[in-house]
Amino acid sequence: MKKILQITLGIITSVGGFLEIGSVTTAAQAGALFGFQLLWAIALGTICLIFLVEMSGRLAAVSKHTIVDAMRERFGFPFFFFVLIGMVLVAFLVLIAELGGIGFALQILSGLGFPLWALPVSLVVWLMMWKGTFSLIENGASLLGLVTISFAVAAWKLNPDWSSVGASLLPTLPEQDKVKYGYLAVSILGASISPYLMYFYSSGAIEDEWDRSYIAMNRVIAGFGMTLGGVLSICVLIVAAIALRPKGVQVDTFPQAALLMTTALPRWGFYLFAFSMLFACFGAALEISLAIAYFFAQGFNWNWSENLEPSKNARFAFVYTIIILVSAVPLMLHVDPIRVTMLAMALTSATLPLAIVPFLFLMNDPIYLGKYRNGWITNSVVGIVVLISFVLAIISIPLQIFGG
């Protein structure tokens, strides 16, 4: 009975925590520009994410190591440091984007510009970290995030042609705008396969003291939670494809994105979108700040637990305090969060090998995992998707940047 409750809670938190500014912006842009054509990228990214999240939980349950612990131990400090720099820089960009998303949601609700919101928003996020506990952050934030289910309602009400939705799960090339298409595919993959989610998930498994008896549960949570989350992303794309594309409306700015659900849900669509973004980005900002602080604390074995008061893990608290405050600065200087988001997502794809290849080594390590090592199916699926995202990123990022 207790297990069923835990599984339900786990799935709910994964669904509530799945959408954030990256997945919404990339899916909305893709739908507005290419209709259903890029659905395959969300599906592919979600499949890869299911495997990765399952792996992170399994590593923690069997070896009692988080990914970062194991990476530092197995690959040594110099390599670890290299990965740390890459991951923290990308996660930092994503954090800026999420804080910008919260600020924008407040802007469309209140009329006050997002640069004004940057500092108060980052202070609230910081205060949650300072005073909150792990379960408050994980459960509270993602329960609020359940408002994103309204995207599924919107997609349902627009009554899409399900056979062409299904057909778009196989990749095809568009006749024009190939570069933009590739760049969007890369950004969608980056938004779906977010490494910070793995670090957060494996740290959570350690904080909740998982052991081998959790392996089956972990599979169910990863499988269902991420699938349902991916379905939500797909719904965002469907809504954009049906509501925005016929009018030629693109999602280059946030005020345009705010119109996403007004066709499907004429009365509440606007407010549901604003609150979806507010809560989803808030939850994601907390998770990313925690993931960055975990990365340092675990890598150097400082005390770390979101359940202790700050002075009991001073260096851990110090890291997230600095990171959150610094990330407010670019927003106060009017950096466009949507541009930061697209760049952050594309760079996530480009740096995936850095995050995933060492992780694959760890997941095949008999010392850590014994008979719970990866099988060849898991290895190949993850390896191939990472290779695809990397190659696409290497080709399309320069083309996008130089090609206009």
Partner: protein, 124 residues
């Protein structure tokens, strides 16, 4: 047992299971005809940076003298205090007395405790 795989970069915990960093370095002693053996485990910044590049190691040594707790780095734990080497390395020491927590305490005193709601690191 293998040194790099099983000892270096492993977590160090003290008698009371308190985390005290990772094994950043190991000192080995050798002579002309005697078998080399490990004398100390090192913890701390300059040891780590030295592994990336000697210049970084020297810079971090200089910086540590100007700023921070100004303790005598690196922290050296004699191998004779090693209890077991497994998932962690258990040491028969008290973390606070070794100097491994100097930075933790310094940051707690200088930043965290001064922010309202930060608590105090010495309360139990």
């Amino acid at each position: 047992m293998d040194l790099v795989r099983d000892v270096l970069d492993k977590k160090l915990v003290d008698r009371e299971q308190c985390d005290m960093g990772r094994a950043s370095g190991l000192i080995m002693q050798f002579g002309e005809k005697t078998q080399p053996h490990i004398t100390h485990i090192l913890i701390g910044g300059p040891t780590l940076w030295m592994r990336i590049h000697p210049a970084l190691g020297r810079a971090s040594e200089k910086l540590a003298r100007l700023w921070g707790p100004k303790s005598k780095e690196p922290v050296r734990i004699p191998w004779s205090h090693v209890e077991t080497v497994g998932k962690d390395i258990k040491l028969d020491v008290v973390a606070k007395d070794t100097g491994a927590l100097d930075w933790e305490i310094w940051i707690a005193r200088h930043f965290i405790e001064r922010i309202p709601g930060g608590g105090h690191e010495e309360e139990e």
